[in-house]
Amino acid sequence: MSAAEDFSAEAFGDYLESQQNKSFLRFITCGSVDDGKSTLIGRLLFETKLIFEDQLAAIARDSKKHGTTGDDIDLALLVDGLEAEREQGITIDVAYRFFTTEKRKFIVADTPGHEQYTRNMATGASTADLAVLLIDARNGIQVQTKRHAFLVSLLGIRHVVLAVNKIDLVGFDQARFDAIKADFETFAAAFEFETLQAIPISARYGDNVVAASQNTPWYDGPTLLAHLEGIEVESDLAARPLRFPVQWVNRPNLDFRGFSGTVASGSVRPGDAVVVAGSGREAVVSRVCTFDGDMAEAGPSEAVTILLDREIDVSRGDVLVPPDHRPDVTDQLAAHVVWMAEDAMLSGRPYLLKIGTRTVTATITDIKHRIDVNTFEHLAAKSLGLNEVAFCNISLSEDVAFDPYEANRETGAFILIDRLTNATVGAGMVWFALRRATNIHWQALDINKQTRAAIKGQKPVVLWFTGLSGSGKSTIANLVEKRLSAQGRHTYLLDGDNVRHGLNRDLGFTDADRVENIRRVSETAKLFVDAGMIVLVSFISPFRSERRMARDLVESDEFFEVFVDTPIEVCRERDPKGLYQKADRGELKNFTGVDSPYEPPEAADLRIDTTDGPAEDHAETVVAMLKARGVID
């Protein structure tokens, strides 16, 4: 920037030209409060002259109030943003800082170092190509240094700088620096970082940050800034096979149908054959379209719109890939998960998983082991707390395409979202597909749901009746089926009792068996929908999460939850099968409403109060809903 001041207006054009062609580096700084991390970033901003006069004046004022450097300006105050942090004197979130030199533009993620902020470090590291690990020369390698190195490695950063700070406080002692460097190299060898550069610095006084220090004549390596400017971190994403996650179907008119997205890896050119990773449908790229004109080729991180030579089924969440280099497509995978929420992660609880542009339901089926972030020990675990890391098996509600994180950071990363609070609760890195489903690519069937439904002249849906035993579910479902049948609709009724005599005869009534009972019925209902049928399911199905799972198996407009809401007293009074009496006598265990809970729907598509009017009227209400929702005419 300083050079700009000397430029004449004429030379300035050339200067701008060179500005545009600067390379770019994103890095993260890790270290704890006392290691001087914020001071180091403040120093970099100060030395690259990115601190404006009014900001300096504000810091000088604040230094007197909060500063920890006596009468000197406290550069850390430049980067510790939020009021709460300034008061407590610690950085509690990820801050992004920008600076530029003659050669490069930089984005720095400044992250806190305490163990309780592991999630913030993972956040900052996820978009960084290099990590600067700060340590205090007086203290040497600490437990937290190991934690930082582990997390940096876990998040796939291949380039590390070990900044041995406060070298002034150990009298610029070479032996001290060499010992720390050797220590670090020994334990970090396992991480196989591509580059590892140790630099003795003083963030407070500037030694070896921008200018080589007079105080360390024994150090002949680069200064921190010179290293950051010079290092090559070019990822190999361009050389990898094409991965194009479709974000948005671009359809301005009938003549244009494009698939908008960002190239995750590889390249795409007109004429390239591609397949949809999940369905196996094949097509040839006809255009790579942008606002600025068509492109001959698009590469990693470029946002484009791809057009294909034929109409195939492609929607958001699909990934376009080369036919000969397909990613794994599976619903079972093993991954490292960093947990980011106060509420613990539980095996068996469903979460949402977003990978690329695809969101599916995911259940942690098994926590293989938790990893102690300080010692790297593998520990047994049933659940995972905030800031803990584990290796898990995950089961998904449908197939997704991915690559191992190690091979592709763009298509191997996912986040976990809590279904109730919508908070981002976890971050994951895929290790491998569990069933090695690689070679069993989904057969693209020519006859599909649409074809089958079209023959029957109807829209296939699931009508899911839930309610207590004796609530009248089956009675109403029967009447609805009769009415639909009379109108020439193709239907099938799955009834709880009947299914338990056949398909599910091996299942009992424990919570686990109830979940499996519903899972099988849900999958069966899905097959019927695929066959083009209107499926009526009449099951107590007491748990919200399983009804949700059933809903998630089909398209969102194919599922209708009908809550047959009959008070338990009325059900007891009816007790058509004498079951309540048995349960009361203790002859039936885990009976819903007696010693097992029923979770009523929070947003059913239809709620029926059976205490009001005859069953025929209620059946009519269900049919009316199907009309109103456009399922039948």
Partner: protein, 302 residues
């Protein structure tokens, strides 16, 4: 000439387009908050690119405080007439009738009544679940930690302690009814990036950014332009014609001008790079009190 492949600016452009497409795909009812300033004009330009050849699949909304520079309204109307995009203009007519103004009521109260409250009211009334804003992380300290998808409660509040972790390029766009997300596609841009981009992409911006002779008075060390007859002059004040330009735009009584000779984009960028004061200093609103931007954000200001 558009930005070249492989450059820093192209990466920023691609990232912003990616973010906008995620929002269009995942939200029910997004809106782009258009302030007429250079950052939001860049955002509008990016929205054209992101969805081309389709029109951006969301409306644009301008909160008209009634005290903005006249040239801004003219620019806005011309631009939207040319593009044919949907524009919603929100004005607090009650506040205007009651004569709420930045001179008599102080910048805090005025901004709240004429900008923050109408914005929140409009977001609720239209049921927008995502709103694009032009905020950048390099602008101010409290923004350095802002997410690209910034979660807002049903009352549009921002709780800095309750923001979602944001990893890789995977954004969590799930909200419950009434809650919303403010989206900042320009998060990783710096002021210099914005100017370079405007120059390379040849983006039309409000003429007030270019230096010209304008009538100004000096108040508390800030040059305020006398944009219309509503400006009440102190007895000792006489408007002087000075060659000035504006680094940010907003309500004219709250927006300081800088003396400048820069009347081309290149000159502006050159001047900016030599500048020793940061962009927001021209905004009276920021230095009312320490941490003031953070407070405003919590209340729902952008």
């Amino acid at each position: 000439m558009p930005v070249q492949r492989g450059t820093h600016l192209k990466r920023l452009e691609d990232e912003a387009i990616h973010i906008m497409r995620e929002v269009a795909a995942e939200f029910r009812n997004p809106v782009l908050l258009y302030s007429i300033g250079k950052d939001s004009t860049v955002m509008l330009h990016l929205a054209r690119k992101a969805f081309y050849p389709s029109k951006p699949p969301f409306p644009f909304m301008h909160i008209d405080s009634t005290w903005e520079f006249q040239a801004m309204g003219e620019f806005r109307d011309r631009l939207f007439a040319e593009l044919g995009f949907d524009l919603i203009v929100i004005r607090n007519d009650d506040g205007a009738k009651a004569g709420i103004n930045p001179f008599d009521h102080g910048s805090n109260y005025y901004t709240n009544v004429m900008r923050t409250e109408p914005l929140k009211e409009a977001l609720t009334r239209y049921g927008f679940d995502a709103a694009f804003g032009g905020g950048r992380r390099d602008e101010e300290k409290s923004r350095a930690k802002e997410r690209v998808f910034s979660f807002r409660t049903a009352s549009h509040g921002w709780d800095p302690k309750n923001q979602r972790p944001e990893l890789w390029h995977i954004y969590n766009g799930r909200v419950a009814k009434g809650e919303s997300i403010r989206v900042f596609p320009l998060s990783n841009w710096t002021e210099l990036d914005i100017w370079q981009y405007i120059m390379l992409e040849n983006i039309d911006i409000v003429p007030l950014y270019y230096a010209a002779e304008r009538p100004v008075v000096e108040r508390d060390g800030t040059l305020i332009m006398v944009d219309d007859e509503r400006m009440v002059l102190e007895p000792h004040e006489t408007p002087e014609h000075k060659k000035v330009r504006f680094r940010t735009l907003g309500c004219y009584p709250l927006t300081g001008a800088v003396e400048s000779e820069a009347d081309t984009l290149q000159e502006i960028v050159r001047e900016m790079m030599i500048a020793r004061t940061s962009e927001r200093q021209g905004r009276v609103i920021d230095h009312d009190e320490a941490g003031s931007m953070e407070k405003k954000k919590r209340e729902g200001y952008f």
